[in-house]
């Protein structure tokens, strides 16, 4: 167990190794470690952000869906109203048309009746004249008795 120069040699080697380690080994490894740490932290933050974004998007889509549903319901209601109105209007129209037709038909009937009546009246007048002629055995001068005949026709 001799104490000798070996001690100083070892101290010099120690010094050189420590300096080398400090300059060329420690910094790159620590840098890599810190960079990875940062990467992981960034990745975690990004995933957090993505999760939050997803939540927001889901909320937004739900909101939009709700709005669309409301809108659709509004449209349907409007359409229903409109349909009811159209049905009502067409009913009205139909009724009016019917009434008009009835009116027309009535007027026509009236006219026919009047025509028939007039024709009948004329015929009756003729028949009456003929009858009277038969009874009187003479002819009745139509022009002379026109007044009387017309009176008669009006009575019928």
């Amino acid at each position: 167990m001799n104490i000798n120069l070996t001690m100083i040699g070892q101290a010099i080697a120690f010094f050189i190794f420590v300096v080398f380690c400090m300059k060329y080994v420690w910094p790159p490894i620590m840098a890599a470690l810190q960079e990875r740490q940062k990467k992981i932290a960034d990745g975690l933050a990004a995933s957090d952000r993505a999760a939050r974004d997803l939540e927001l998007a889901q909320e937004k889509s739900a909101q939009e869906l709700r709005e669309a549903k409301q809108q659709a319901a509004g449209l349907i209601e409007q359409a229903n109203k409109r349909a009811a109105a159209i049905v009502e209007a067409s009913k009205d129209d139909a009724r009016k048309e019917g009434e008009k037709l009835i009116e027309q038909a009535k007027a026509e009937i009236e006219q026919e009746r009047n025509q028939a009546r007039d024709a009948l009246r004329a015929e009756i007048a003729a028949i009456a004249v003929a009858g009277a002629e038969k009874i009187l055995e003479t002819s009745v001068d139509a022009s002379k008795h026109n007044e009387m005949l017309e009176k008669l026709a009006a009575e019928l």
């Binding site: 104490i3 000798n4 120069l5 070996t6 001690m7 080697a13 380690c21 790159p28 490894i29």
Partner: protein
């Protein structure tokens, strides 16, 4: 190999020493050194007679080789370090770096760019040097013997010079940072005005030598204990491996295997303790609590 057990042990505990022999020294083979010069020691006596002017080539060589090995792998990983998916080597290196960084952060709260790399170097290097203890005791010495080198001690940390070299470096760092952080006055004050202090000026001055003695001893004890703890553990471990190697071949594994398994714990623990104590001492040097 040497004949008797004690020679075998002695032989295994002798470093390959390259040192300066004085002129007129009579060597082991009987020749006399005519001119003072550097040469390889041929015996333990010669090695000790070389005194301070000698180098343990084996300890230094292995420790430097292991340090280079450590830095080679870590540098390779550092060069390829990516913040993406790490490969196997980078994974391992990152685990080590994070472990050391964590240990430093738990103990040392100041700002110092040296301490963490210093701790990493200490831990990995000391661990690798200790790891040489698990190589069978005769394996490498035998190979070097065939290459013509008489002595070869492969575990650098069983050489007190190696552990002292490191712990004294740490000691100088302690002094350096104490002076840097607290200033000369602050550091001297810490050495002389604590733990005993008084409001009375005369009593305070009287207490200075007592404090200086206590604090001085505790300061000096730091590097000594640091070095001797590591050296003692590894030296004892190595010695036991050598003793086990003396047993008959068929019985060796019954002891060497359990001891080796236990030693895995010891070498890791000793490397960790050396690193932790370095961090603690340096963090104490940075604290201006007094």
């Amino acid at each position: 190999m040497a004949g008797s057990a004690s020679e075998y042990i002695q032989h295994h505990l002798q470093n390959l020493t390259y040192g300066k022999l004085p002129a007129g020294y009579e060597r082991a083979d009987g020749t006399v050194v005519e001119q003072a010069g550097w040469t390889l020691a041929q015996s333990a006596t010669e090695a000790s007679d070389m005194g301070f002017m000698a180098l343990h080539i084996d300890s230094l060589g292995w420790s430097v080789a292991l340090g280079v090995l450590f830095l080679f792998f870590f540098r390779m990983a550092a060069k390829r370090a990516t913040s993406g998916q790490p490969g196997g080597l980078q994974n391992f290196v990152e685990v080590m770096v994070e472990f050391v960084d964590q240990s430093v952060k738990e103990t040392f709260h100041g700002k110092n760019k040296v301490i963490a790399p210093l701790a990493l170097t200490i831990f990995c290097w000391v661990f690798l040097m200790n790891l040489m203890d698990l190589v069978p005791v005769d394996f490498l010495p035998q190979i070097f013997h065939l290459m013509g080198l008489e002595y070869m001690k492969v575990v650098p940390t069983t050489d007190v010079n190696i552990t002292l070299g490191m712990s004294l470096s740490v000691f100088f760092l302690i002094i350096y940072y104490s002076l840097k952080v607290k200033g000369v006055g602050g550091f001297l004050g810490e050495l002389t005005l604590h733990p005993f202090s008084s409001d009375n000026l005369i009593l305070k001055i009287l207490l200075v030598p007592v404090n200086l003695l206590l604090e001085g001893v505790s300061l000096i004890a730091k590097p000594i204990s640091l070095a001797l703890r590591l050296f003692g553990n590894l030296y004892a471990g190595e010695l036991i491996f050598i003793l086990i190697a003396l047993l008959p071949l068929w019985a060796q594994w019954t002891l060497s295997v359990p001891w080796a398994i236990f030693h895995i714990l010891v070498i890791t623990l000793q490397a960790f303790i050396f690193m932790m104590l370095t961090i603690v001492y340096l963090s104490m040097a940075h604290e201006d609590s007094h």
